[in-house]
């Protein structure tokens, strides 16, 4: 099917979404770790508009933006489908993926604030998580139903990343008592072999996030 390369960053959940999708589809690829403080010429050439990872390169053609990459992977390697077949269900899946993207900045706000400002944002985040649990997940094991799909991958930063971030930023929002189903989903998700075997080391991630938060709070 042609040579596949992925430019990524070890700590990035966006990078990991792509890794998970490629592995779930059984696609062989070469991984190129990018130093975000010293981005490679190739990366800047492949993604001049954003200069960001991840970038997937297939047959020498670059695709940027993790969610665009996920749809590209889904269409190029249709085995083990990660999106529903029904058009309305697909629209629903895309809706929730889009919802997660739209709410990203609120979670980032939580990370870079303290005290009252953080508390206020925390209330907003709690509402968002409640919506995700009640409306997106419902009583299903996964967001798509009984099997893992792109929506799960797109929310894949909630388990592991958000959990580590909560320890670093001193919050406890993804809690089994207030969000039992979402919390259960997060634990299940991390145990899926492809996910479990492709997560950044939690200690390394924690140190990295502590450093990042320290820098953000200084400015």
């Amino acid at each position: 099917m042609g040579e596949v390369k992925l430019h990524g960053f070890w700590a990035s959940p966006f990078s990991h979404r792509v890794i998970w999708a490629l592995k779930l589809k059984g696609v062989e690829y070469e991984y190129m770790e990018e130093d975000l403080s010293n981005k490679s010429q190739l990366l800047l050439q492949y993604n001049p508009a954003h200069k960001k990872i991840p970038v997937l390169v297939h047959r020498n053609k670059p695709v940027a933006e993790s969610l665009v990459i996920l749809e590209y992977i889904e269409e190029t390697w249709p085995e083990n489908p990660l999106l529903p077949l029904d058009a309305c269900d697909r629209a629903m899946a895309r809706f929730w993926i889009n919802f997660g993207e739209q709410k990203g900045p609120v979670f980032f706000n939580l990370f870079r604030t303290t005290g009252e400002a953080q508390e206020k944002t925390g209330e907003e985040v709690a509402q968002i998580l409640k919506t995700i649990e009640e409306k997106a997940l419902g009583d299903n094991n996964f967001f798509g139903g009984n099997t893992l799909g792109l929506v799960d991958l797109s929310f894949g930063w909630l388990p592991h990343w958000f959990e580590v971030t909560e320890q670093v930023q001193g919050t406890k929002l993804l809690d089994p008592t207030t969000l039992p189903r979402l919390h259960a989903w997060a634990q299940n998700f991390k145990q899926v072999p492809v996910i479990r075997d492709n997560l950044p080391d939690p200690q390394k991630l924690s140190a990295h996030l502590k450093r990042l938060r320290g820098n953000l709070l200084k400015n």
Partner: protein, 230 residues
Amino acid sequence: MASGGGDVKLIGAWPSPFVLRARIALNIKSVGYEFLQEQLGTKSELLLKSNPVHKKIPVLIHGGRPICESLIIVQYIDEVWTSSGPSILPSDPYDRAIARFWAAYIDDKWFPTFSSIPKLQEQEAKVAAVQQVYEGLLLLEEAFIKCSKGKSFFGGDHIGFLDIALGGFLGWMRVTEKMFNLKVLDESKTPNLCKWAESFAANNAVKDVLPETEKLIEFAKIRFKPPSAD
């Protein structure tokens, strides 16, 4: 008689660029629909019920099932009405990825900057925003040259996904040009996009639903009226 009939409803409002995207897609596929217009300042029961998460237009209701978010609606229309009209998304997965990439760029980066222009009070901030808008359009000009391959639209011979994504804002680009006395689509900077804009506006799927600039200006004056100073 266009397909769909009473089965397809679109909740929207004529000035909205996002609603326009959905209408153009429906026109490309010759899908008949009932256009349920929301009144400025209120949200109907149907809207609140159909889009409880965002409470925003457009919402497409097909056979009673709601679809939300304009670009998701456009993809849905393309996937359901496959046998009528040309395809909206390109057939090749790589071309589809490019179309989706630039559509995401338009919605995530370009439009927020563009829509901030009238709200910015300081001249310096305004100038900076306008500069960013031009830079974005230069990128889109390059993308147009690559995607169109010499034809009239991003989609080639026919209006496609990226044409709809950008074209939805054409009316408001013209409003910005008239109200703030600046060129958004400038022949000296983005000649291909200027030509594209003319072709897009004249297209059969667009011309009857693209709001008239004068009407949009009147609407803008009411909708974005600054609070009175007392």
